[in-house]
Every structure is written in C-alpha cells, then in structure tokens.
C-alpha cells in the first residue's frame, strides 16, 4: 500500500463539495486552508465570467484542475443532439477562458434509447467537439458513472467503456476521469486503470466514499473514511500508472452541506491525510 499523502499539495476540491459557499467564498476559503487545487463547476459563471473566475483563482494561488461539466450528448432527436454539441463547445470555450486544462464529461443517457445507441451518440458527440477542444487546448475527460446512473446520466459506466471510446477516437485530447465512487465495485478496475495509464488517458482522479446505507442516489456521498471504498489502494493503482495530478474531492451530500462548511473543510483535510 502506498503511504498517506504527505501534505495538501495534491489536494483539490470541487466547488460542488462546499455548495453552500459562493464561488468567491470557496476560492478564499480553499486558499486559506492551504489547498492548492480547485475544480470549478459551471454554476460559478452565474456570478462572474470564466475569465474573471480564472483570475480570482490564480490570484489566490490555486490551480484549476478541471471544469465540471460537459457531456449529456445522447438525445432522441437530431435537434437535441445538436444542442448538446453546441453546449459542449461553449463549455470548452469557458474552460479555455477559465484556464482549465480539461472538461469533465458526464456523457449522458437518454431513457428512450438503448445503452448501445446512447454510447454511439456519445462517441459521435465527443468526435464532433474534438477539433474545437484541440484548437482551444482543452482536454476532454470522460467520467465513467456508476451503473445506477445508466438510465439517465451516463451510458458510460465502466473504465472499459471509456477506454473503448478513447481507443476509437485516438486523440491526445480525450481521456478519462476516474472517480472512486463510480468505479470502486468493478472487478476490472485495477487492470483498466493500468491500461489507461499505459495509453496516456488517465486525466483526472476523484475521491469520496460510499456510505452504508446510502439513502439517496445522488446526494449522499461520504467523506473519505466514512465508507467502504478502498481509496488509498485505488490511488496507488492510479499513481503507479503514472498519474501525478490532483486528488479531487467531489462530495455531494445534503447531510454535509447542512453543516458548518469551514469545519467541514477541515474535516476533509484530516480525512484526506488519514484515508486517501
């Protein structure tokens, strides 16, 4: 087993993790807590432009890990698919203005389509925006989502399916965001992570924990150590595969959002050292 993180130099928070805070407050608080990375959710741009958001982040000594999120490509009409492609081009533009090296893709799934058809549309959608991403210098990180989201959020539910799209598109601008919450159950996870590392597609690494019982499909994630995910073991596979980016804490939790966020931030830091 790899050792615990020595410090917070690779710790990154998703702004959604501390949702009650405005974007500006999150930036200030993260920087004050000695955190070095931030993954910005697009909701931040309700308050300020992507360029201004990037300025704010950098002026606080933070680096942007990713912009969350693009994707949602499948639709049951050509119009719907075209709108999704337009929105993804806008998301790529926002990432470039923000100064984010990559966009995380929650690929989408249309309940009226088969998973196979959704996957074809996802690959087609990514292919359609890929020239735009390359021109903007923004990478696209496909995030496999847990199978419990297969019906409506992503038809890409395993690293294997994400790797298949990467292989099909063969571009240095397309890779994978590995999230332990979505992938921990997969008995092929280790081999898939190692293969992704060899293929140069390990773009991002997200951490949180799976609580027992989990009472909500979307907003009941746990802080590292609150659940059963072997986070450190998976981080070991990721780092042994050559990944040297941020460990991004992405927790959606109504329970934790209802608590004092400053205290919660300190709990996250402790949990990071103890369990990540």
């Amino acid at each position: 087993m790899i050792p615990p993180p020595r410090d917070f130099s690779r710790l990154c928070l998703h702004t959604m993790t501390t949702r009650p805070w405005t974007f500006a407050e999150a930036v200030r608080r993260y920087a004050g807590a000695g955190i070095k990375g931030i993954t910005v959710w697009r909701s931040a741009f309700a308050d300020c432009s992507p360029a201004a958001a990037g300025e704010l982040v950098r002026s606080h000594g933070l680096s942007v890990a990713s912009l969350c999120r693009g994707g949602f490509f499948p639709a049951d009409s050509a119009d719907g698919r075209a709108r999704a492609i337009d929105d993804n081009r806008r998301c790529i533009d926002e990432a470039a203005e923000l100064g984010a090296p990559q966009v995380v893709l929650v690929c989408g799934s249309a309940p009226g389509l088969s998973l196979e058809e959704s996957r074809v549309q996802i690959a087609g959608g990514i292919a359609a925006v890929l020239p735009h991403a390359a021109a903007a210098g923004v990478r696209l990180a496909i995030e496999p989502l847990h199978p419990m989201y297969a019906a409506d959020r992503s038809a890409i539910n395993t690293m294997g399916q994400a790797r298949a799209i990467c292989s099909q598109l063969k571009s240095p601008w397309v890779g994978i965001a590995v999230d332990v919450y979505h992938t921990w159950w997969d008995d092929r996870l280790e081999e898939e992570i190692r293969a992704s590392g060899r293929e140069g597609t390990l773009f991002a690494f997200h951490i949180s924990d799976w609580r027992t019982p989990t009472t909500d499909l979307l907003e009941d994630r746990g802080v590292m150590g609150e659940g059963c995910i072997p986070i450190r073991r998976i981080r070991g596979w990721v780092e042994e595969s050559g990944f040297s980016g941020f460990n991004e804490v992405e927790i959606f939790s109504r329970r934790l959002w209802a608590t004092d966020q400053a205290r919660y931030l300190e709990d996250i830091k402790s949990a990071y050292l103890a369990h990540a």
Copy 2:
C-alpha cells in the same frame, strides 16, 4: 425480437411484489388471476410452516418457482460466518419442506471486508452448504445484485462473477438467478447469459423495470414498461439459451404497495403481456 408472452402460463409472482397481502391472500389472489407460479419469501413462514405453505400453494394449482432468500455469507468473524451457514442450511430445509426446487441467494457483502474477501467467503459459504443442498434436492441460485448493493448486500454484482463461482464449485446444484433490474446495464450481459445457458446454470429469471428517476435504492422498482430496461430483449437471450422456467415478477415499491393490490395485480398481468 421474440414475440410477447402468449399467456400467463410462465408468469410467476414473488410474494414480496404484493407485500401488503398475507401469504394466504397472495396465494388465493394469484390463483384467482390465472397465474401459475409463485416465489415464496421466507416471511411467509411467520404464519404457517413451510410444509403447510407448500400444501396451500399446490392446492391452488400454483407451482413454487423459488424460495427467497438465502445467502448473506460474508462476515467479519468466524462466528458470523458459521451463523450464516447454519441459516442457509435452515433455508434449504425450508425449501425442501415447501417443495421449492431452489433457493435464491443474495450473497452478502460485509462493509469491513474487501469485495475480493467477501467473494472468497461467499464461495466458501456456498461450498459449505452445497452437500446439504444436494442431499435435500434443492438448487442454489446465485443472484448477481446491482453494483449499488455491493457495499452491504452482495459482492456478486455481475453474471461474470456468478459464473466464476459456478465454475469453481462445478455442481449441478449451483446456478444463477438473472434479474434484469440488477444486470440490465452490463455490456457483457448477453454473452454471459448465453455462456450460462451453455453451462447449464440458468436457474431463474426475474423481471421488473428501472424508473427514471429512481428515488430509493431499495423500494422504487417499476412494473414492466415503466422504465428503460429492454426486458423482452433480455428474455429473448435467456430463452434462446435454453431457459424454459418462469418469468418471475419481483417488484419492491412503496409507491405500488400503497395502491389497491388487486388492481395492481391486473396491471402486472397487462404489463407482462405488453412488455415482457
């Protein structure tokens, strides 16, 4: 695509599907509705002995498809594992007394153990009760559960993992219960079903539907046609693989349990013809 069911000769209901009914009322109502199969949950034995339950079922012209459920083998202590094995032997005895040809195994998962360790304990637990099952003439049907239950209900989350245990134990008394709710998302499902058919391990087939959104991890299943699962397509794979048993309707739904169960039963019959 295979044609719709022609009649109700292969329709089976799990007693949990109409949970508000007592076991005796469920038997009477199913028989009155022209249904031929029943899968009995062990809670029925609070009211009557397994032998009496079997008598009641047969006197109404119903056949028992399965007894639900054994399993829950993994535990973090030797005592816990021994208790699980004892309970599974009792369950097998109950199945024999009831006249059920098989017990469905929800294999279990202990949050304190790795999934790999839980799987080892599951295989060990099944091996431990296998002689008892063979002597009783009761088959054991491993039910792969959706990955959202990996933490606490089953470390067996794919047909592939279930097949691996079948291959390891190599016994005509160990096979698989395929439930579309648990397995529909798996891109290997068709090949796994066909392989299981070749190996003679397709023991049971459960149907229901996946609703969007799903609001509860346990008790928000849908009637066939209410969701996105390609039930008929999967039934086609199962039947083409040689399975000729019951199509077992297993729906847990607080929403539907709150409705008039007689009307609900008729809705299930219509949905079965239209979507199964």
